[in-house]
Symmetry: D2
Subunit: 337 residues, 4 copies
């Protein structure tokens, strides 16, 4: 249930509502809006009676929430969430560009990439230090050394770092360097990791699981929000289907539906979505028009020599041209939305 | 195998090559290019020896074709195919807009729609007279009466008619009215129908089957081309996956891959792709940027009262606004490709 | 809706109910049961009022049918349907074994196979004369010549012929030889073919489409039953999923659910289901325990030389051993059901 | 690569080979066979030269391993692995029955179930204390209290406990009570958890991920084996497809293929596979015939009141009858394999 406060409700009135929610055994979530504040309730099994709240001063209305996901939904918070990453605002209407290699491989590689990414106008550098890999024998990232390189990049460029956290054990060290904690597709239902991310107060990029329905993605995000971390971005990165000519099936309708049902920003990742470098630019352009708040692409100085995902990485030249185009399209999109 | 003729090869030389192909038991396919002509060979089980042709005058080169689809592939014909539908050229670089209701339902409905579609600048009206339906008890179209209405529309508007043919029995009557024969997703592997369409000499719009791989789509088109009808457009209309929030999963990467591997024009159908009217415009816009040669959308004067597919049909007002936007984006796309 | 007649209702009373159904514009379907007769109604869009029938003599009850499939459902006909194929009764509790090559290839091949199949105790020989193939360049069956060979087999062995019909054009010639008309997976929603099969009065084996839901399979069968042909068997032959190690994913739960929701017999086809010959016997055995009324397997004198599906065909020796085992398991199953 | 020792190779000779593997930077895995011992090598990126080993005393042969999974494969260990769980041997040819509720809910519930399970002849009780759930608001298990109840059951019945571990944080407490650590479908690619399980020396039941290919399942198991824990059982529990009438699509061909490609025991879980209690017994019976080494089913004294998975749980009466039938079928299977 959602308790909508009156337009001029005072801090004390809101506080009293939250106290009342706790008193009957549930968890209050204060949700500020541009006009008025709402208080969401979680922790209840069945319906909560509005009678608990209607008599409290400042309460305007109690509305039931029909979806199994609550804090994530537009029902509870109609206005879009803007995630502020050290001044770069994701979800406010402009396009957030996130680019970089699959894995941090060397100082030279990450610095050359960072330079190109920064020059292109992008504000986010992606790059993995801890890499979950299907095979135990595959390259699993430079780990702590990779994090050090990312920290160094951060000191040298105006770039925010998006890097994956693969388990709770390394969450602490990753969170020290990351500006945005990426939770990967394979971990979308690693609930312990989601809960740990929920207890932090920093931006999280949550990738859709390889065969997750949108409802499951929303429920996974709900784990994070329900623990008080509302700085979550959702990411479409392709789903598993019968088609074998592409790595995954990039589901752009997911971008449209996420924007419709949720207030959280949505990032499109066509690199993983299609898995073929020559197909990435067209799908990146399409992502902007589908309404994505951000686009994440893999780029590498020498894709042929990449230790992972080389076949889907753009050369820096192709990336630069794409960044320019995406900027133009984002302007078109901003004028028409 | 593909026999490439020399730049100045004469008609007689080309003819002699075709005769030689027939003489050894196979079928020649003359493929004109902007610079030189090629002759494709089909009907062979294994490899054909180049020695059969290399000594013939005007023959420049014999190249093997690596894919199971041949006439459909860029290997055999690198230049894009332009399908000319009574002057409307699909595949030449501009955007072909195809709009209309799922089914022709009444004179009033189809005329009101046709008027809006024609005014929007679209050159194609879609509308079904014979409707394949999952249930034997569902509305199966107005049939011959629907065709008559489409014929009447054709006389009154500058619109080309795209309408579905569901079996060989009704192919004759449908082909009399249709400018473009649509072969639906459920019939993508109805090989008898494909062969019948291959024996015609008129444009065909072949929709991807609901769980067809791109290779299977190419092979289905190959049935048509191998019988001499090269006027084929391919259509992405969503595939079946585990996701239930959308009707299908609209696979925009298919548009990119079809353009890459085949010279045939590709049409995107976001209406069937996503199945939710409010999600169609964003995906239609994205389709243009993915590189589609055409976009097909369902529109209806009163979606709420539609006998089929109402939930995915745009109102005429929404359609008009969308048509305008797609035009702008097509211009952007033309400038940048 | 379903009109249940009283236990001793007379022929005239039943006839009067059918006449009344027609009089109000719908189609009656007389469904004999061991105790009493029911009359199903199709052709109605919405609910039909019981008041039309309750006053007629001999009418016991009018019950609504909740599923979109009606004649196919257990609601309408709780007792299992037994399809009698020249004395071989499919669905009566014993196991019907159907075996043979994918395609009829030669007199020697089909006679050697038929001999082994007949000796194994099986009553059905499968073998394709008209083969729908993904590629226009692949072997498409011996066609009429194949039918002649099947007719010859039929005269020489106590075997019923199961062979595929791929289009309405060849339905006539196929139906002359076939004892059971097989409608293949790709044609499950070829509604014109379903309607043509519905107008015949001979057994049909309807295969589940490669990505058909069970409800769609039921609706496809409903096309046939609604036209008066009730001799339909349903066949599970594997569905398309993301797994690539098997040709399809053999869905044995489909066998269980079909038996639950429908009265029609169900045949399991593990050969197409898994597509790997060494995996077929175990899945054939499992099929019996899942409750299949019949098992269909591909067997060939020389699988290595088969023109189609060799990789999933059993040698005659392996087949013979399997037939013996399936018989034992069918006995176990009969004792315990 | 796999180094096969001679039949009478001594301990010292084997040791010398292992030392040599380490000396060149890789990890040796001693794999005892009934006739002779093999030494597997992991940690290498490319091929390892046989010349490193062929001259060592006792080495018979060096064979390359063609699959990406190595220790898991039959290539490396042709003989089936038998996992000994306190005297109950899984994989030795008999059928291991594992039954119990989805979640431990109360002392009464788990004791009543345990009694029925023990009496049925099953040697394993399943029951979850820590439950990963899609929704943060759903029942997540009794946690430590649930473990205590399981420990109590263990002291009172001759039953081995199979219970899920959902994260590395609780691995310690779960491992104290569990005889078999279950790693659930959502955690199949939680590599940190796999590694932690690999460092233990106790039986693990690894469930196939909801959209995991068999190769990915093998690679996940490889994580555990490569760290020295070879007591792994694989479990098929249904995969995600387009079909909505069942909870998942139970892939029995997976059982057949796992037995073929791997030496590890395989357990079938039809309860999660189909998700409908009335469909479970038929699929459990089929699982035995498909060759499963064990069958795991959910049973509950009062399925209607279960806090999770009630719709797929058998009543204790249905379970008892099923256990009896599975025993008979396992005998048939043992006689014929």
């Amino acid at each position: 249930m959602l308790i909508l406060m009156e337009k001029g409700a005072t801090r004390d009135q809101i506080q009293a509502v939250c106290d009342r929610v706790r008193a009957i055994g549930f968890v209050p979530h204060e949700i500020p809006g541009s006009i008025r504040t709402a208080v969401g309730i979680t922790g209840n099994q069945g319906a909560v009676s509005p009678e608990n709240f209607m008599h409290l001063p400042g309460v305007a209305e109690c509305v039931p929430v029909s979806k199994p996901y609550k804090l994530v939904s537009r029902e509870v918070k109609p206005e879009p969430t803007i995630v502020d990453v050290r001044g770069a605002k994701v979800g406010e209407g402009s396009l957030s560009l996130m680019a970089g290699p699959c894995s941090v491989e060397s100082r030279d590689q990450i610095f050359r990439t960072a330079e190109a990414v920064a020059k292109s106008g992008a504000k986010f550098l992606r790059g993995g230090a801890f890499k979950p890999r299907t095979s135990p024998y595959a390259f699993q990232g430079l780990k702590e050394e990779g994090l050090s390189l990312l920290a160094e990049v951060k000191r040298n460029f105006d770039l925010r770092i998006v890097t994956e956290v693969k388990d709770t054990e390394t969450l602490g060290v990753v969170a020290e360097v990351a500006d945005v904690l990426q939770i990967g597709a394979r971990n979308m239902q690693n609930f312990s990791l989601l809960e740990a991310a929920g207890r932090l107060r920093m931006p999280v990029l949550l990738k859709r699981g390889i065969s997750a329905t949108l409802q499951e993605l929303f429920m996974a995000a709900e784990y994070i929000l329900s623990l008080g971390n509302y700085q979550v971005m959702l990411c479409e990165r392709g789903i598993r289907t019968f088609e074998t000519m592409t790595r995954n099936t990039f589901d752009l309708s997911a971008v449209v539906l996420i924007k419709h049902y949720s207030h959280l920003p949505v990032i499109a990742d066509p690199s993983h979505g299609v898995g073929i470098s020559w197909a990435v630019p067209a799908l990146a352009r399409a992502s902007v028009l589908a309404g994505a708040d951000g686009v994440m692409v893999e780029t590498h100085p020498e894709p042929d020599k990449a230790l992972s995902d080389g076949q889907q990485s753009l050369t820096l030249d192709v990336y630069r041209k794409l960044a320019q185009e995406l900027g133009e399209l984002a302007e078109w999109q901003a004028r028409h939305r």
